[in-house]
Symmetry: C2
Subunit: 198 residues, 2 copies
C-alpha cells in the first residue's frame, strides 16, 4: 500500500470532529472514487477558505469581508448585541432567523478546570462595544451549563455601570419536547418561569 | 456570513460518508481554527493523493506504484489470490497480517437489485489471473450477505475447469463474541463447522 499519501490523508481526516480512524479510512476510499467530483473541489474549497476567510475584528464572526457582513449591514438592529460562545452558536441563531441585531463571539466560556480566565475571552472588546452610545441591550446567549452560567454572571457584573440592559435566554421546555423525558432542572425552571396563557 | 466559501466547504464535506450537514458545519469551524496545522495540509494531502494514487491494473489496489507494492513484492506468496469486494476489505486483511499472498479487488458484488452483473466487476481479469500457471489457490473473502454469497457461488462456477483450488472464509463465532448475542445463522454455521478440540 502507498503508506505515505493514503496514510497521511487518513491521519489528517481522522483529526476532524466526528471522524475516527475507521470512518476516516472510509472517507479516504470514498474520496479516491470521486477524485474529480469531490476530492479536488474539496481541496480547492479548503485552500480558498483558508486564504479568504477572516475573523471579524469587531464581533469575531467568520467572513470574507472585514468587518463582517452582519456588522456592516444597515438592515440589522445595531442597538442590540447578542453574546455567544462560539461562531457555531452565531450560525445556529442566524439559521433560526429570530435575531436581527449584532453579535459578539466570546471564544468560549470561563473555565477554572481548563484554565480559561477573562483574559482568554473577548471580554474587553465587549465592554468597549457596550460603552458605545447606540448600544442599548446586551443579550447573553450562553450555554445552560455551569461554565456558561458562570460566564453569564461574570459578564453581568462587568456590565454593571454601563448604560445597557443585560438579558439572557429563557429556560424552559424545548419546543417539541415531552415532559416525560425532561430533566428536573429544566422542569423546575419552566415551572418557575410560567406565564399567563391569555 | 460568507455564503460562498463557508457554505461550499460545508456542502462538500457533508458528502463524505459519516458526516451529515451538522457535523460538516462542526468540521468547518474546527478547520477554520486550525488553518495552518490542519486545513492547508489536508488540502495539500488531497491534491497530492488525487495526482499520485492509481488503481493497480493487476489487482485493483490503490497505490502510488504501478503495479502496486503487493503485486510487485517478492516476499508475497504469488500462488495465492485473495478475492475481496472493495479496497477497504483488502486494507482490513492487511491490518490483520493474516494473509501473505496477492489480492484481487472485484469492485463490488453481483446485485440484481442494483443492476450489477459480472460485466461491472473485475471478473474477467480474475479468470485471466487464475489461468496463470503459478496460481494455485483462489480464496473468496466476500461478505456473508446474500449478494456476497451469490457472488461467491458465481465465481466458484466460473473457476471450474481452471487448475486452482477455490476456498472461502470460515463462518463461525467472532473472536470476542458472546453466544448470547449471536444470530441463529451464525450459531448454526458455527455448530455445523465444529472441530475436534485436540
Amino acid at each position: 500500500m502507498a503508506k505515505t499519501e493514503i496514510d497521511r490523508l487518513t491521519q489528517l481526516l481522522s483529526r476532524l470532529p466526528g471522524l475516527g480512524p475507521r470512518s476516516a479510512r472510509r472517507a479516504v476510499l470514498f474520496l479516491m472514487k470521486k477524485r474529480e467530483s469531490l476530492m479536488l473541489p474539496l481541496a480547492k474549497a479548503m485552500t480558498d477558505a483558508a486564504a479568504s476567510i477572516v475573523n471579524c475584528p469587531t464581533c469575531g464572526n467568520l467572513d470574507t469581508e472585514n468587518p463582517c457582513a452582519i456588522c456592516q449591514s444597515p438592515k440589522r438592529d445595531h442597538s442590540k448585541i447578542c453574546v455567544v460562545e462560539e461562531v457555531g452558536d452565531l450560525w445556529a441563531l442566524e439559521r433560526s432567523g429570530a435575531f436581527k441585531g449584532l453579535y459578539h463571539v466570546l471564544g468560549g466560556t470561563l473555565s477554572a478546570l481548563d484554565g480559561r480566565g477573562p483574559a482568554q475571552l473577548n471580554v474587553n472588546q465587549l465592554l468597549d462595544r457596550a460603552g458605545e452610545t447606540h448600544v442599548q441591550e446586551i443579550i447573553l446567549a450562553l450555554s445552560a451549563t455551569v461554565d456558561g452560567q458562570t460566564t453569564g454572571h461574570y459578564l453581568t457584573e462587568c456590565l454593571t455601570g454601563y448604560e445597557v440592559d443585560v438579558s439572557k435566554l429563557a429556560h424552559g421546555v424545548p419546543v417539541g419536547g415531552s415532559l416525560d423525558y425532561l430533566d428536573d432542572g429544566t422542569l423546575t425552571a419552566a415551572l418557575k418561569a410560567r406565564r399567563p396563557t391569555n
